[in-house]
């Protein structure tokens, strides 16, 4: 294994491969920044170029584009509330409010540090334990995924923002409902398509996120020009300090560490991915936060920004575990990379790191290099990159509209998606005017599809019995955590009241 790592190290540090990492990161960051265009589009663009390259160089280039795109996606989330890709949707929840408050520089820098840490931590995990982690990828079954989704939903309060919990719950249910549109996998029957061909394939998460965030935000700024405009223009022209204070570093360091580990393991699971990882990390950190800090989530909390950023980058590296060690792609992006590997005559699987050690290890080592490149590339560029978006509102708003719509169209090539986007945007604006939070809608949507699929699969596998809930240790553990998360705040509230009562009683006795 050490031999392999050394071979990988020498392959990864060859000038051509260092150059590939650099190019990949640069192109990825740039494409990722464009609203709606994410890693899939970026990698698709690079494929013709990789045909002429060595397998190792080709896959290093694609890997660089992949995490570069996720890295870059956070920039537009933070600056204009338009997620660059699905993985960075959660980043907008707290990143955009921060930018509006005049802390754009700090938010971008924190996103860069968190991404860097997430990527590096998971590169280390990969290096130390990639072959062994294959069993983790396979240990999760449908019942466990179902439990994980329930745990994710239990964090709904975290996504309620300033609105009240009831409204957040309503929006979650709406998200769950929207996720049922399209062909039902378990029965092969169309649901809620109203006979429309365009709804047969369901609604994509990216479309929903772009419509509810990017488009709705851009149009809101026209509807209520004075409310956002000033704050925004201020944020654009004045980035604020990029430096984090010592207290702030202390505050976010443990968040980033936890989220990196969480994100990595979620990424390792072939059924989840960077987007789910970001949602879970955000919810998890909100649950851990103190009562006072909880209120800041969704209003510009540093923790709320750091958690999803560390998690989505860690998850994107984590998804290389099933890809390289089992030949199983966990996402559309890794599926394209699998295709590329196979076309090189390289078969990912348990024998990859024996048969092609130079490919296996050099990809992993290039991730280290890539993360350093991304940090070096991004930090000094922050002021300039954000200047691009600091154009006057009357130009910026149409640009956001254009990029968001074409971004979604270029993934699906279905013109009806544009109409659906417009309808959802109008609804989203109404919800915003009524003070309904939209983040829970996205949470319900992204978890809803997997929740239902996995529950029905688990039931099929157990032949209709609910015994899987307690028969599988992983499932039971996750459900216990969920129960704890739900009961703990109520219990601690009651305990406090009880203590106050008894103490008060005791005090009055002494008088």
């Amino acid at each position: 294994m050490l031999d392999g790592i050394l071979t990988g190290l020498s392959t990864a540090t060859m000038p051509i491969n260092l150059f590939m990492v650099f190019i990949g990161c640069f192109v990825g960051t740039f494409i990722g920044m464009l609203p709606g265009l994410g890693p899939i589009s970026a990698i698709a663009l690079m494929i013709p170029i990789t045909y002429g390259l060595d397998p190792a160089s080709g896959i290093i280039l694609m890997a660089g584009v992949y995490y570069g795109a996720i890295f870059g996606g956070s920039t537009s989330s933070i600056l204009i509330n338009a997620p660059g890709c699905s993985g960075t949707v959660v980043t907008a929840f707290d990143g955009y409010p921060l930018a509006q408050q005049g802390h754009a520089g700090k938010a971008l820098a924190l996103a860069a540090y968190a991404s860097f840490t997430g990527g590096t931590v998971s590169a280390i995990f990969l290096l130390v334990a990639a072959p062994a982690l294959a069993s983790v990828s396979l240990s999760f079954q449908s019942a466990d995924y179902f439990a994980l989704m329930v745990l994710g939903l239990s964090a709904v309060a975290a996504f309620s923002g300033k609105g009240n919990i009831l409204k957040a719950l309503l929006m979650t249910v709406l998200g769950l409902m929207i996720s049922t549109i399209g062909t039902d996998r378990s029965s092969g029957v169309d649901r809620f398509t109203f006979g429309r061909m365009d709804l047969v394939d369901g609604i994509s998460f990216l479309l929903l996120a772009m419509a509810t965030f990017a488009l709705a935000e851009a149009l809101m700024s026209i509807l209520k020009p004075d409310e956002n405009a000033e704050a925004d223009e201020d944020a654009m022209s004045n980035l604020g300090s990029m430096k984090l204070t010592k207290e702030e570093v202390k505050e976010v360091a443990p968040v980033i560490a936890r989220s990196s580990v969480l994100g990595f393991f979620v990424g390792v699971l072939p059924g989840a991915g960077a987007t789910i990882a970001a949602f879970l990390a955000y919810g998890f950190e909100r649950n851990l936060a103190k009562a006072k800090e909880k209120l800041k989530f969704g209003m510009g909390s540093l923790k709320g920004l750091a958690a999803p950023e560390a998690a989505n980058n860690a998850a994107s590296s984590g998804s290389f575990v099933p890809l390289l060690t089992l030949g199983i792609p966990g996402s559309g992006t890794t599926a394209i990379m699998l295709g590329a590997l196979i076309s090189y005559g390289i078969q990912p699987g348990p024998r990859l790191f024996l048969d092609n050690p130079e490919v296996f290890w050099s990809v992993i080592i290039s991730m280290y290099v890539g993360n350093i490149v991304l940090l070096i590339l991004n930090l000094p560029l922050i002021p300039y990159i954000s200047r691009l978006l600091a154009v006057p509102r009357q130009i910026l708003v149409p640009m956001i509209l254009l990029f968001s719509i074409t971004g979604v169209y270029l993934v699906s090539f279905n013109s009806a998606d544009i109409q659906i986007m417009v309808i959802i945007t109008v609804l989203a604006i109404i919800f915003r005017l009524l003070d309904f939070p939209l983040a829970p809608l996205l949470l319900g949507f992204i978890l809803g599809g997997m929740l239902e699929d996995n529950l029905r699969r688990a039931l099929l596998i157990s032949d209709g019995s609910y015994s899987f809930v307690w028969e599988r240790p992983i499932t039971l553990t996750i459900f216990s955590i969920t129960a704890f998360v739900l009961v703990a705040p109520i219990a601690s509230g009651m305990w406090k009241r009880y203590r106050q009562k008894t103490l008060g009683y005791g005090a009055s006795m002494q008088e």
Binding site: S41, L45, S142, T183, G188, G327, I328, G339, Q347, F413
Partner: protein, 329 residues
């Protein structure tokens, strides 16, 4: 439906972002066809996309066609592109549309109202057989072992597939079970949302049998993780000489998931023959061989008339099976 992750995201997503990219022109002067426009009923990176762009690459590089342009149009499981081709038929004599077995399945299930009869079938170009696979340490050593268990209790074997109920991944094991005298409605099909996830479930022990394309199965078998029990090929395939076919086991199920091209309705006969000839000729070129090998395709050319007969036959077979399974009235 059956376009699972591996094949769906095959390689030629090249230039997906650039609408209607024209490919490289070749230096040869006498082109069999000057311009060809390929309509792709799915988005960038899908199996149809890969087939179209791969064909186009071989056609232009080999000098058979001067320029090939592409148009992605997804929606309604491919129905939108079909409707478009029919509506604008009089302007589409330079257009061919890529499609595959799901066009038969989806017209049967009425996902879209049209069928291949409303178009002009031009040629079938490649085929992938279906395979049933198990993990290396599975107790099932052969298809006969599986049948023995299924006969005792049809619900005892959990069969995974990377696509929804009623899709090809489901229909193949159902057909195979039926041929053994087992009630196909009783078998336990577990749908996953992608081939990769179904494979993970097989390797993780959640299911016992996986129904998938032979191309994917061979890749996984090469990595040493799974054993292919049986294929639906008419005779043993060269890439897997040790794997028996269902046909030779006396089961009789033969199934090919084809990919091919269609023209607009009423496309002139000479145009049909012209395109079919180009698609036939390209398969003898080195450029095609490069693309074919890269994607792991199996050549299976079918000329226009044969293609039509084949489609009718497949529709008949799949229709009977789907009626029996309760997917059709």
């Amino acid at each position: 439906m059956n376009l699972k992750f591996f094949s769906r995201n095959s390689l030629s997503v090249a230039g997906a972002l650039v609408l209607g990219v024209a490919s490289l022109t070749s230096s040869v002067n006498a082109f069999a066809v000057d311009e060809l426009h390929i309509l792709i009923p799915g988005g960038a990176g899908g199996g149809w996309d890969g087939t179209a762009r791969g064909t186009g690459e071989a056609l232009t590089k080999s000098g058979l066609v001067k320029t090939v342009s592409y148009e992605n149009m997804s929606g309604g499981g491919g129905g939108k592109a079909i409707a478009h081709l029919i509506e604008t038929a009089d302007q589409q004599d330079g257009t061919i549309m890529v499609n595959s077995t799901p066009i038969v399945v989806r017209s049967l299930t009425k996902v879209f109202p049209q069928s291949f009869r409303d178009l002009t079938p031009i040629a079938g170009i490649i085929a992938d057989y279906q395979a049933l696979i198990v993990t290396n340490d599975s107790k099932y050593k052969s298809w006969t072992d599986v049948v023995a268990d299924l006969k005792k209790n049809p619900r005892s074997v959990k069969i995974a597939g990377g696509s929804s109920k009623g899709s090809l991944d489901h229909l193949v094991p159902a057909a195979a079970a039926k041929a053994e005298g087992i009630d196909p409605r009783q078998i336990r099909y577990i749908p996953y949302d992608a081939g990769g996830k179904a494979m993970a479930a097989l390797l993780g022990g959640e299911t016992e049998l996986l129904s998938t394309g032979l191309g994917e199965a061979l890749e996984m078998a090469r990595a040493g993780q799974v054993r292919i029990l049986v294929t639906t090929a008419p005779s043993r395939v060269k890439a897997a000489p040790d794997v028996p076919t269902l046909k030779e086991l006396g089961n009789g199920t033969v199934f090919a998931n084809w990919r091919g091209y269609f023209g607009a309705p009423g496309l002139a006969k000479d145009k049909v023959n012209e395109y079919a000839a180009v698609l036939a000729k390209v398969q003898d070129t080195n450029e095609w061989e490069t693309v074919r090998a890269r994607n792991g395709w199996v050549n299976d050319y079918k000329a226009p008339e044969d293609f039509y007969t084949f489609l009718e036959q497949q529709e008949e077979e799949l229709g009977t099976l789907m009626r029996e399974l309760g997917f059709l009235q």
